[in-house]
Amino acid sequence: MTVTEETTTSGPGYKWVGTRPIRPDGLDKVTGKARFGADLALPGMLEGAVLRSPHAHARIVSIDTRAAAAMPGVKAIVTGADFPDPAELGGRPDEEMVAANIIARDKVLYEGHVVAAVAATSRKQAQRAAAAIEVEYQPLEHVLTVDEAMADDAPLLHPDLKTRGMDPAPEEPSNIASRISHERGDLDKGFAEADLVVERTFTTKPVHQGYIEPHAAVADAGENGRATIWCSSQGHFAMRTMTATVLGWEPSKLKVIPAEIGGGFGGKTVIYLEPLAVALSAKSGRPVRLVMDRDEVFRASGPTSGTKIRVKVGVTNDGQLTAAEAWMAYEAGAYPGSPVGAGGMTILAPYDIPNFSVEGFDVVVNKPKVAAYRAPGAPMAAFALESVLDELAAGIGMDPVELRLRNAAVEGTQASYGPKFPRIGFVETLEAIRDHDHYRAPLGPNQGRGVASGFWFNAGMNSSATVHVNEDGTMTVVVGTPDIGGSRASMGLMAAEEMGIDVAKIQSIVADTETVGFNDVTGGSRVTLATGAAVVEACRSIKADLRARAAKTWDCDIEEVEWVDGQAQHAGGGETPLSLQALARKSGRTGGPISATASLNARGVGAAFSTQVCDVEVDPETGEVTILRFTTAQDAGTAIHPSYVEGQMQGGVVQGIGWALNEEYIHDRDGRMENPGFLDYRIPVASDLPMIDTVVVEVPNPAHPYGVRGVGEVGIVPPLAAVANAIAAATGCRLVDLPMSPPRVLAAITGKADG
């Protein structure tokens, strides 16, 4: 196995930012104390079970719950009729879709769609009762792929769905929910200037986020029309809003307490069980716990879109990209909302290409409604584009990193999706890979090397944070964004840096919806950026307050007080400095408790880029691909806690490797998933992989107090193409369909398929 190095270029003289302290919640997580979604049990709690559709598409003729309700221990049953009609919610169409996805009313749109839910005195009894509910279905024809769904005579999922974004607007309904497009320049002229044009069509299958913790929720509905929910999610405020919408309640009637979250990757930004648990609790008058089995997680939550993408790109012999054309169709699952918009915005974003046209379609099919998955929509787009770039580089005899460098977006480039880029670090990631010893290491027989790059926007959005100074001179940082991969640690580091105190004196906690101000979800790689900015802003208010209190104590002007190394100092040096602890002790006499809150809508997000290099060996007998070595260079802006930055980079890469080589939803002809378990839906295991070498590039984001960009997502964008390009280098075969599983690779190298 390879020896690795972990390079971190150091920041501008920070004391705490850039260090690697043990995370505050770590101890509970290595001793089994941390409470995840399914770990809470309340006195008198009932257990629930959910009845799901066995059909991919069917009309519900009738539901008879009488036999189930008569079973011993069964306390409540709910069906679609117990919830407000989504069409009458008076909300936005996407809210209607969320509601319709939670529980079916007249039609089921995918295998796994909820039809009813039961609460009973034990889980087993709830499951038996669910099985005893009699549902009469009238099966309908279904569609499973974008090709089937876009065919002229395709059966329709939603009889009223008319494509948005078409001019003129279509008269007839279809399975195409919307069309997006971006254009610039003159495509014909661009292709005419090219010396080489490559056009390919790529397909990818739906893949699941694959978090190890299944969805779980406990609800306790009180008698005063309020309810409390404990659940693991990427954002308990969003859970509250969505659950309230589905129930037809005011959001303030719900309190959501965040459990520790066992992975999300985008898939826990949406609700599934929460409204069912509240409805069952309200009906039974007892707390109810609902936990998904793994096969329910596969059949009914996530995944991300299967796609079909056609890409055509032209290049001159000296490596100038002259034109690019992309046609993209993304499966949305049963309701509109695939990430094709982001796919279309990201596909060309890393490059400065004068002439292009991108057209994308959001297509409904009879599969579970897709949910966000790490850089939603971007990995499939990059798979297509970065594969074609590899072929172009080979075609003109140019090093693939050099081709990318010649066309890379830099500060001031008009991004393909609109705005001008501020300072970005794409070129630096390319140079980091070009200059890495990995890029020059020798390769053996049947081995090949591939590179690919990727872009992600990163998000800002709304965050609130409250900071308290405790009487012992420690501080509590209260945030409302769940900690999914070490964010408590990075909040503590930024607060320590700002306050000039030891990070060990800072306790970061994630509070419920009634204890801290509104926060958007942990997603879009936004927490270190936006919640971090709120923490920094609150700390700055506290520092101003502390200086004022010291000035009062010293009877001087606040301008004469400086905050240095965690204490108030008199500029003239005439007073003994006052530590945080000293000021905290006398807070009762200087104006009361010391705390500050900051709520903001974070602006100035910093885009993230990643460039990766991968070595593979392909077994010519079996088609099996082994990842020999992998290096990823990513611009983090500033790495607040480098270990968790590396962890995000490594985790994203490995998910991308799984997507490239093994993972896929397999459906039978009836639209039933054939591999809803980790045995047959194979995510990477430790013995499949080498170490994942990381190069943390730091090109600070000028708009953030510590230069943070956000690191969670972009790492999953390049691996699909990096692996494909490495396989092409090893075998001479260009694989265009994911996953590149042994049978596919073998067929390609033995000439039985496209190659």
């Binding site: 196995m1 995370r23 770590g26 290595v30 409470r35 190890i212 070490g486 806690h641 994203g652």
Partner: protein, 169 residues
């Protein structure tokens, strides 16, 4: 249904509980005994989140029926730290940032302890194969493998240095 009475030793304590005939050890540990550090990721033996040491062997608790454990000795993640001292694996996981969400961590710690108990000086490849039954979706395994190798090295040093005390917080 009559429930079965079980007596066993868990994390050094004698424990008694009642369970159903068809109840899994995983459900019994979580629901009857209250050891929720043992996690369910799949319920089918494919993820290792429910790993426990059953008479010294690493076992998926979701694949064992609770009535089978009468008279056995078990260790769960809750029993790894002794007398307030973290096991070197726990310490190395913390220092090496070998957890992100942490839901897989209990199973990894238990499986890694089983490995180091029988092979105190494993190679990277041996660690990777020994932990191949434990899924982690967050870390890409890199930092987990390093933490296990670090813990092995720490334990070797402690042993060779003649000290029996593990390195702890």
């Amino acid at each position: 249904m009559t429930r079965t009475h079980i007596t066993c030793t868990i994390n050094g304590d004698e424990v008694e509980f009642l369970c159903d005939q068809d109840e899994t050890l995983l459900d019994a540990l979580r629901d009857e005994v209250g050891l929720t550090g043992v996690k369910e990721g799949c319920g089918t033996g494919d993820c290792g989140a429910c790993s426990v040491l059953l008479d010294g062997r690493v076992t998926c608790a979701c694949l064992v029926f609770a009535p089978e454990v009468d008279g056995t000795t078990m260790v769960t993640v809750e029993g790894l730290a002794e007398a307030g001292q973290l096991h070197p694996l726990q310490q190395c996981f913390l220092e090496g940032a070998a957890l992100q969400c942490g839901v897989c961590t209990p199973g990894f710690l238990v499986a890694a302890k089983a490995l180091l108990d029988r092979n105190p000086d494993p190679t990277e490849t041996e660690v990777r194969y020994a932990l191949a039954g434990n899924l982690c979706r967050c870390t890409g395994y890199d930092k987990i493998i390093r933490a296990v190798l670090d813990a092995a090295a720490d334990m070797q040093t402690a042993t060779n240095g003649g000290s029996t005390a593990a390195t702890t917080a």
